[in-house]
């Protein structure tokens, strides 16, 4: 394999793993559920993306590469949808985001409209 590709791949793997751990730390350290979502977002984007693309380069052009690409695509596609579903559920479940500066009536509105 090309030495440049090798270096690039290991670099990606390293960066990906680093971001995974940072995201994990974020999930533990950040103060409330909404802020923790940003930590999880790091895992889903940079962490997964880095590690998986590192693996892709390692694999060369085979069916493995294609499947890894599918997995990245799938995670990048589903992650925001799932995060949004969760955020919405939390908002409607009455969790107030910390440091809620602008007065929000979004959740109250959502509840009342659905209660009818």
């Amino acid at each position: 394999m090309d030495i440049a590709l090798e270096i690039l791949s290991w670099g990606l793997l390293f960066v990906g793993s680093a971001f995974l751990v940072i995201g994990g730390i974020g999930v533990v350290r950040l103060p409330d559920v909404f802020t923790r979502m940003h930590g999880a977002g790091i895992i889903d984007t940079m962490g997964v993306g880095g590690v998986m693309s590192g693996l892709m380069i390692q694999a060369g052009f085979t069916i493995v590469t294609i499947k890894l690409a599918l997995i990245i695509g799938f995670i990048l596609y589903t992650s925001p949808t799932a995060t949004h579903a969760l955020a919405r559920a939390a908002l409607h479940g009455g969790v107030r985001p910390r440091g809620d500066e602008t007065p929000e009536d979004e959740s109250g509105q959502g509840n009342s409209s659905s209660k009818t």
Partner: protein, 95 residues
């Protein structure tokens, strides 16, 4: 070197487990389980790559899929039950 990547994934998994046990709200747990699922996908991919068996990647794909559906289902359930409870008095009796 691959082992280092796997180790990073495991450490992150441990962090996610910690968060899922600690809570405090159900949403934190859902978030942590979702993250854990994603990490499982990565771990299986790395492992599958190490053992050079591309069929492991199908497994990872299934994980990603199930993880997504599970998260949606759980979020819906939570949202639904919170919103739905107060209105539960409808005894219409049809169906």
């Amino acid at each position: 070197m691959m082992a280092a990547v796997a180790l990073a994934v495991l450490v992150t998994m441990a962090l996610a487990v910690f968060r899922s046990i600690k809570g405090p709200t159900v949403y934190d747990r859902i978030l942590a389980v979702n993250a854990f699922g994603t990490l499982t996908v990565v771990l299986i991919s790395v492992y599958g790559f190490l053992s050079e068996r591309p069929e492991f990647l199908d497994l990872a794909l299934v994980y990603a899929l199930i993880n997504f559906i599970g998260t949606i289902a759980v979020s819906k359930y939570v949202e639904f039950s919170h919103m739905g409870r107060p209105t539960g008095g409808d005894e219409l009796g049809d169906i």
